[in-house]
């Protein structure tokens, strides 16, 4: 049985995730098949997966570099196909293990993102389909618009920083119960 940080007995067990004007949800359990290195893109394309441009995302495929891709919720046989394929086919990137995956949403989402991320993620500046590899909540993170149920951002970041990140979001969103921003 795999245990993710926020699971019972996980490293971040018991860490509260904020809900309300800002809501933080954990998606670390979802599958994310990552490849990195020479041949990654060609392999995925050979599997009929369309790979977008660098720092773009489409249909659950994240292109993080010229030869770095993550497929979210991809076909279950993808890994087996990759194991069986001939090199060059990229190298396995352990993305279910290196990164936690979380989602931020809520009425004050953009006010929160303005506090915890230095990149302008506002609707007019950051289109759906773009990826920002940057810093969010004091950790290196990858974020993009993913409107799961209402506008939201998905985030990938160091799995060991799960509790830290949740705390940072909680601290940053505490303000919204007290005052109004412009």
């Amino acid at each position: 049985m795999r245990i993710y940080p926020l699971d019972p007995q996980g490293a971040a067990e018991g860490t509260p995730l904020v809900t309300g004007d800002v809501t933080l949800r954990d998606f670390s359990h979802t599958s994310r098949f990552g490849l990195k290195g020479r041949g990654s893109v060609a392999f995925l394309q050979s599997q009929g997966i369309s790979v977008p441009g660098v720092n773009e995302t489409a249909t659950g495929v994240l292109r993080l570099g010229s030869e770095e891709v993550v497929v979210l919720d991809g076909p279950t046989e993808l890994r087996a196909s990759w194991e069986a394929a001939q090199a060059p086919k990229g190298y396995y990137a352990w993305r279910e293990e290196t990164w936690a995956m979380m989602h931020l949403s809520g009425e004050r989402l953009f006010d929160l993102m303005a506090k915890i991320c230095p990149v302008d993620l506002s609707v007019s500046a950051f289109a759906v389909g773009r990826i920002a590899q940057t810093r969010v909540g004091y950790v290196e993170a990858i974020t993009w618009r993913n409107d799961r149920d209402g506008i939201g951002f998905d985030l990938l970041f160091d799995i060991a920083a799960t509790a830290f990140f949740a705390d940072a979001v909680a601290t940053a969103s505490a303000e919204f119960n007290r005052e109004v921003t412009p």
Partner: protein, 950 residues
């Protein structure tokens, strides 16, 4: 004193009284009052005592700058009384007073002033003995220094930070700023308009004209959704690439603007004459703010010194508010207030051509001297000129020059996405300001590629009337203050010049002029004029000292925000806590130091060591760095990065890794396990892995080898199962890895499934015992740990912590990079010749290692041991020196009590000539005792390496 009737007092709400106290006495003001206005309404004009001479001081600008209006709140020193609103129960007291404000025991300093010329402290306080400064004078002076008192028990407060982005940031919401912001927003730009006041309008809110204009502009602004207005927001500096801190309350908005337009206006300049610092002497803008914002009548009988048209406006305002106007003094020969002059004449006001040369009064002005006459008054209003708010443009690289015609500083902008408008740009008449602001907005719009239109320029008929130069009436008796913050008089500047401090920066440093809280805002112009005269140069040549951020005072809290020291957790974090581990920080991680209650630390650590030596222990090594190096060139890549050879390393074997930098200094070590022809799993030390990873990528950005490196530190967890009974544990695990002696040799690596978990197993360890290190993806770590613990139980396996691990490694003589090495340690100094490949053509540190080898070794790491019992003071501690002929040649890098050997064991650098086993070296203990001890090898325990190869 009662307030003026409405519409005077547009900021106060007379229906909401607010009670506060000043100097222990209760006062009442209204909601909307600032401390200074509420006090002034009650006739309390004195607010503080001055920095050096403890002279009585009150408000001057009502614009928040000068030290004179700084007051103390219980937890907040140096608060601007002319900007800080009153609130119910607020307790305010005066600063820099010894006793009370009214009876300041240090008021004698004013009389003493004549004994304390500028720079006096450089020439005195040195005797009678060499120590007199330190022991006697300095403590005395320190006590007199400073203004406010910091509350050492100040309660916590929340500070927030956010990023803002916009096309155009307009700074200053006066006529120019509002006009420009509207102009740009109407063209479609995303605009932020920031103003430090609670309402927009700037001088329109307190000036004689403009209320109608303001109402119209506010309506227009409110209708524009792409115009964000931020009031009570200070734009407190300009930083590279239009990065500006906007501060509102406890929140810092770090704002990135594609374009910036500064419309911060001008700052009114005081006049210099004897006793110009008396309460009751204020700038024209201050009198107007008191009346229009707060309905406070600034005095009963006034003298107005007006050298520009605004002074005439103030005079008319004062008359309207019922203040008796003793005279209007205009220093300009034939000076005129234009149409306003006749308006004033119609009131029967006496207009005198001349200057105010002196004022008198004890704690408030009672009369001013014009020519030979003393004019009685309780208010003197000064409107003699302006200086642009040059700070923000100068942060951005603008140059400040002096325009002799207008007797005014003027700005030349740098080539940047930045503009200025209105008073800041030297435009004063309202219609001209509007056109100037619209034009400035158009320039920004053009750079933003937004639609533009033609603006018809409007001539400014007031610009030349704003400043008049020679209003410096220095007085032989002094107290003619150029800088009130620092109590600097005209002669102080002149004397500094006489001493040879002729450059403005030197004068500033010698006299401290301009160094106080207002940072020269009210003194720079007069200083430049005085210095220009004293040095026979032009005001333009003197200029002002470099403007540096911040624009106004900003709290450390708002800059700091929340402090978040990084924190990372291994997959077993909770498990260790459950097991009672004492968790200690190791970089951002926390690791078990030992398991059990703190009081038993010593015993528990020894037990943990014994468990490993005699049975079996388990150590969580998950914080160890993990790197995957893969690709056809992976072997070649490792060959270049590390000192040994890896290309021919068989799949399924582990090899030591020693990393050196180009200088040949040892910077990391670890183990490389070759999982496949094109895949190595490499460990790195906890603290160094981030840098090792970055360095690897950096090298390959240059080498361009066909290799990919991935940092899997968080992705993999690991445990080391170590001790003579380790094999009993691992062989009891379910899985497909053959852990038998025959199947799993020393330095073997095997991958497979254990307890249903994918595992990378290596026969490596740090303890010198039979060791198996099991690594697995972190989400499986708990499952694997539980399985290992379960099979370990029957043989008494015990988790052990970092401290036992350190002892075990030292007993075995393994080095710790960073503890036993420093910024210059070469492999040779460690005796690691064995770890350097002799056949490889290249690795990163190779050339330097050889160069350093040819020089001979100046030091070498050896083992030392001390038989004295544990706790004996005659045992050296870490970092104790190794001496040769009483000269330090090395030091002890590690020393611990070995429970296994019942001795203190140590690693130490000794002189290169003394590194052979048996040589005797001198070690100096912390208590100074010198011990002569024989050198031994690094390995104190099982030097033959029998146990790890069991």
């Amino acid at each position: 004193m009662s307030r003026l009737p409405a519409p005077w007092g547009n900021r106060i709400n007379r229906d909401v009284p607010v009670t506060f106290s000043f100097e222990g006495r209760t006062n009442q003001g209204f909601a909307g009052d600032v401390i200074a206005s509420a006090l002034a309404a009650k006739g309390q004009w004195m607010l503080s005592r001055s920095f050096k001479y403890h002279r009585p001081r009150g408000l001057m600008s009502m614009a928040g700058a000068e030290a004179d209006t700084l007051v103390q709140l219980p937890s907040d020193p140096n608060v601007q009384a002319d900007r800080h609103p009153i609130s119910q129960g607020l307790r305010v007291s005066a600063q820099n007073v010894n006793g009370s404000l009214a009876r300041d025991r240090d008021a004698y300093m004013d009389k003493l002033g004549r004994f304390l010329p500028v720079g006096f402290y450089y020439r005195s306080f040195m005797g009678p003995t060499r120590n007199s400064w330190l022991k006697m004078w300095e403590p005395l002076i320190r006590k007199k220094a400073g203004l406010g008192v910091v509350d050492l028990k100040a309660p916590h407060a929340d500070y927030e930070k956010a990023n803002l982005f916009c096309d155009l940031l307009v700074v200053g919401g006066g006529l120019a700023g509002l006009t420009a912001a509207i102009e740009a927003a109407e063209a479609g730009a995303d605009v932020i308009l920031a103003d430090m006041e609670p309402v927009l309008g700037g001088a329109l809110t307190y000036g004689r004209d403009g209320v109608d204009r303001l109402d119209a502009l506010l309506k227009q602004a409110a209708a524009l959704p792409n115009l964000r207005v931020m009031t009570e927001t200070v734009v407190n500096g300009w930083f590279e690439d239009n990065w500006l801190p906007l501060i509102r309350g406890n929140k810092l908005y770090k704002t990135r603007a594609r374009e910036v337009l500064l419309a911060t206006g001008s700052v009114e300049q005081p006049a210099v004459f004897r006793n110009n610092d008396l309460p009751g002497i204020m700038l024209g803008g201050a009198a107007q703010r008191l009346m229009r914002h707060y309905a406070v009548k600034p005095g009963h009988r006034t003298v107005v010194m007006a050298a520009n048209i605004d002074g005439y406006r103030v005079a008319l305002d004062l008359l309207e508010a019922g203040v008796e106007l003793a005279a209007l003094v205009d220093p300009r020969p034939g000076g005129s207030g234009g149409a306003l002059a006749s308006e004033l004449a119609a009131t029967g006001t006496k207009v005198i051509q001349g200057v105010v040369e002196e004022a008198r009064g004890k704690t408030h002005v009672t009369a001013v001297k014009v020519g030979d006459d003393w004019l009685d008054c309780d208010l003197a209003v000064i409107s003699v000129g302006y200086a642009p708010m040059w700070q923000l443009p100068c942060h951005a690289g603008a140059k400040l020059g002096y325009d002799e015609d207008s007797a005014r500083f003027s700005l030349t902008l740098p080539d940047a996405a930045l503009g200025i408008a209105g008073g800041l740009a030297g435009v004063f008449a309202a219609d001209a300001v509007v056109a100037d602001a619209q034009q400035a907005a158009q320039v920004a719009l053009q750079r933003l590629n937004l639609s533009t239109r033609e603006i018809t320029p409007v001539a400014d008929d007031e610009a030349s009337l704003t400043n008049f130069e020679p209003v410096i009436a220095s007085h032989p008796m002094g107290k003619d203050f150029v800088d009130r913050d620092e109590d600097i008089q005209v002669k102080d500047l002149q004397n500094a010049v006489k001493e040879g401090y002729r450059e403005l920066e030197l004068i500033k440093r010698f006299t401290t002029v301009g160094m106080g809280p207002s940072q020269g805002r009210h003194s720079a112009l007069a200083t430049a004029r005085v210095v220009a005269k004293a040095t026979d140069r032009s005001v333009d040549q003197i200029g002002v000292t470099t403007a540096r951020p911040p624009f106004g005072p900003e709290t450390l809290g708002v800059l700091s925000g929340h402090h978040h020291p990084a924190e990372r957790r291994t997959a077993l974090h909770r498990e260790h806590i459950r097991l009672g581990a004492d968790m200690r920080p190791v970089g951002a991680w926390r690791r078990p130091y030992f398991y059990g209650p703190k009081v038993d630390a010593k015993r528990l650590i020894e037990e943990e060591v014994h468990a490993v030596r005699n049975g079996v222990g388990i150590l969580d090594v998950s914080t160890l760095g993990g790197l995957e190096v893969r690709g056809p060139d992976a072997g070649e890549f490792l060959n270049r990065i590390y000192t040994l050879a890896y290309k021919k390393q068989p799949v399924g074997r582990c090899r030591y890794c020693l990393m050196t930098n180009e200088m040949g200094t040892v910077i990391d070590d670890g183990v490389a396990y070759r999982l496949a022809e094109d895949l190595y799993y490499v460990t790195a030390t906890t603290g160094a892995v981030a840098r090792v990873y970055a360095d690897m990528l950096f090298w390959n950005a240059q080498w361009r080898l066909d290799v990919d490196v991935l940092n899997v530190t968080s992705a993999f967890s690991g445990f080391n199962i170590t001790g003579p009974k380790a094999r009993d544990v691992v062989t009891a695990l379910d899985g497909d890895i053959d852990f038998s002696r025959e199947g799993f040799a020393y330095l073997d690596g095997h991958s497979g499934t254990v307890a249903g978990v994918p595992v990378r197993a290596m026969r490596i360890g740090f303890t010198g015992e039979l060791s198996y290190e099991l690594h697995c993806p972190s989400t499986y770590a708990k499952t694997l740990w539980d399985a290992v613990i379960k099979v370990g139980e029957p043989v008494g396996m015990r988790p052990y912590g970092l401290e036992a691990s350190r002892i075990l490694r030292l007993e075995k003589g393994h080095i710790l990079i960073g503890q036993d090495t420093d910024a210059l340690t070469s492999p040779d100094e460690l005796g690691f010749e064995w770890a350097i490949s002799k056949t490889k053509p290249f690795f990163v540190g190779k050339r330097s290692i050889e160069m350093r080898r040819n020089k001979g070794l100046s030091r070498k790491l050896v083992g030392l041991s001390f038989d004295a019992p544990q706790g004996d003071p005659n045992v050296p501690g870490e970092s104790c020196l190794v001496l040769k002929d009483d000269v330090p040649v090395g030091h002890i890098t590690s020393v611990l009590w070995s429970p296994t050997l019942s001795a203190h064991i140590a690693l130490a650098y000794v002189h290169g000539d003394d590194a052979d086993e048996g040589s005797v070296v001198t070690v100096k203990c912390r208590n100074g005792v010198r011990l002569n001890v024989p050198v031994r090898g690094h390995t104190f325990f099982d030097a033959e390496n029998k146990r790890q190869e069991l």
